[in-house]
């Protein structure tokens, strides 16, 4: 790193700017809304006669895991992850290009790689603060209604979902680097992540779908919503999700470094 660039200070300031903005407010409201929905609708949605009830039975018929599956994999928090994470980064590069600020920014003592890393790290921090800031209080709201829910299982799945968010951020950063328009960047990012959820959502429909789901990070992020947690698998799957993300980050940095601005 260039000694003239105060990386932590820049990252922290940018993180705070992201959190205290309209996008931060939208992300916060969306997360809170989903936690409240999860906490108060759980009994209704898990009745066996409903579509959700049938899905829960199909995906997981262990009572101690049903809430985990419904809350994290069934839709609610996964939707929050795929919707809120790109909010913090979809216009990171395309926005600076559009506003013609990029020339001024890069005339400072900062390398292009540092510029990309600052964008990624601050977006990851902003997303993490909002994600855990909502989900940890959410645990205390939900746990009294779902006594079988344990803090360890809940936090482990939270952590893997956060890493899924990191994957989303890396892909959205690449899209933002390629795209010249914020709007197109947002549409592509959101559309792509909605579509990426599908193989995991249909994995029990056939063996082919099950195999297909294993090449998406969603499978590993939601693995412990249907299986008991073991430390080895947890670390292994965390590493796998990060490995899914890194090629996209590398591509984004390479594309930006080689671009004629």
């Amino acid at each position: 790193m260039d000694s003239k660039v105060n990386f932590p200070v820049i990252v922290w300031k940018r993180t705070m700017n992201l959190i205290f903005s309209i996008r931060g407010l939208i992300a916060l409201l969306m997360s809170i809304y989903m936690v409240i929905a999860g906490a108060y609708l759980i009994d209704v949605l898990m009745e066996s006669s409903t579509v959700y009830g049938e899905l829960i039975t199909l995906f997981n018929n262990r009572p101690d895991m049903q809430f985990q599956w419904f809350f994290f994999d069934g839709a609610l928090m996964k939707l929050v992850t795929i919707f809120t994470a790109p909010l913090f980064i979809f216009d990171a590069v395309s926005g600076d290009k559009k506003g013609e600020r990029i020339g001024i920014l890069l005339s400072r003592p900062i390398t292009r790689t540092q510029y990309m890393l600052i964008n990624l790290v601050s977006a990851t921090l902003a997303f993490g603060i909002l994600f855990f800031g909502t989900l940890i209080p959410g645990y205390f709201a939900i746990q009294p209604q779902v006594p079988e829910l344990t803090a360890g299982a809940y936090l482990a799945t939270c952590s893997l979902m956060f890493l899924l968010g990191f994957f989303v951020l890396c892909v959205a950063l690449l899209i933002s680097t390629i795209s010249k328009s914020n709007l197109i960047s947002f549409i592509i990012a959101f559309g792509m992540f909605s579509f990426l959820m599908l193989p995991n959502a249909v994995k029990y429909n056939s063996d082919a779908f099950m195999s297909l789901s294993k090449i998406t990070p969603h499978y590993y992020a939601s693995y412990f919503t249907t299986h008991d947690i073991t430390a080895g698998y947890f670390v292994g799957y965390a590493v796998i999700i990060v490995l899914f993300a890194l090629p996209f980050l590398a591509l984004a940095i390479m594309k930006f470094r080689n671009e004629d601005l």
Binding site: I22, R23, I26, L29, M30, Y33, A37, L41, V44, L45, T50, V51, Y52, G53, E54, L55, T57, L58, F83, L87, D91, G95, K98, S181, N182, L183, I184, F186, I187, I188, F190, G191, S194, F195, L198, A201, V202, Y204, N205, S206, F209
Partner: protein, 248 residues
């Protein structure tokens, strides 16, 4: 009113990336969800069939209206951002307003282009989506599906108006799209959660995003339609009045 400018704006919207992506996304989602339903295990298929309202065009339409349309609201919002935010984003809003044309005329022209291009793209996309789903599933009532898609146009125009309303104070395209999409999602999830809590009930007529469910379930439409149209007109008028007075 300059008809030539309306045609030019509409043409540029129809040939834009957002129009092309909208149709592509409608087709991809139709393909993916039709395949998902078609290859569902027996128990899930039965649950979906029993959850699909009697008046609907089939299981696919139930999934389409309850899940896919929520994601596709982003497409509607992107058309709503066309009216002001697009020009703001290009830095050409002040130049456009410097023409010998009143702001009211300018807004009416942009609104007609946005609505026209959106309706054309939506109908084309719905046809493509319907045909794909019909080809995969067979039991989809294609004509009824298309008819229902057309009947939800007022609801989508409400989303368009909501986005336009947000674009007046926010102006910035990023914030306009975020605010329009997030608020539509909130409304949409609110009625969905309400229906989950009370299966078989009627959603509130005061939630414009619930019109889609009413159409699909064959529930009474008149009052809800009046509310949606009134809300749409009010949002357009208030947004327009604000924009006309606003210092750009």
């Amino acid at each position: 009113m300059n008809l030539q400018l309306i045609i030019l704006d509409t043409k540029s919207m129809l040939l834009s990336k957002r129009a092309i992506y909208s149709i592509i996304f409608l087709a991809i989602f139709a393909l993916a969800f039709a395949a998902m339903v078609e290859f569902s295990p027996e128990g899930l298929r039965t649950a979906l069939e029993s959850a699909a309202p009697e008046g609907s065009a089939g299981v696919f339409e139930y999934i389409w209206f309850e899940d896919v349309l929520k994601l596709l609201l982003l497409m509607v919002v992107s058309f709503g951002a066309f009216m002001i935010s697009d020009l703001e984003d290009d830095g050409t809003l002040d130049i456009n307003l410097a023409r010998p044309e009143s702001r009211a005329n300018f807004l009416v022209r942009r609104t007609i282009s946005a609505v026209l291009s959106f309706i054309i793209v939506f109908i084309a996309g719905s046809l493509v989506a319907g045909i794909i789903a019909w080809a995969i599933m067979g039991d989809l009532d294609l004509l009824l599906f298309i008819a229902h898609q057309l009947m939800i146009v007022p609801m989508l125009l409400f989303v368009l108006a909501l986005t336009f309303f947000f674009s007046v104070p926010l102006r910035n395209i990023t914030y306009t799209v975020l605010a329009g999409f997030a608020s539509s999602l909130f409304l949409s999830f609110t009625y969905s959660f309400g229906l989950m809590a009370n299966p078989g009930s009627e959603p509130s007529i005061f939630n414009p995003l619930a019109l889609g469910y009413r159409v699909m379930a064959g529930q009474p439409l008149a009052e809800a339609l009046v509310v949606v149209l009134a809300a749409t007109v009010v949002l357009f008028l208030v947004g327009a009045a604000w924009f006309v007075k606003k210092d750009v």
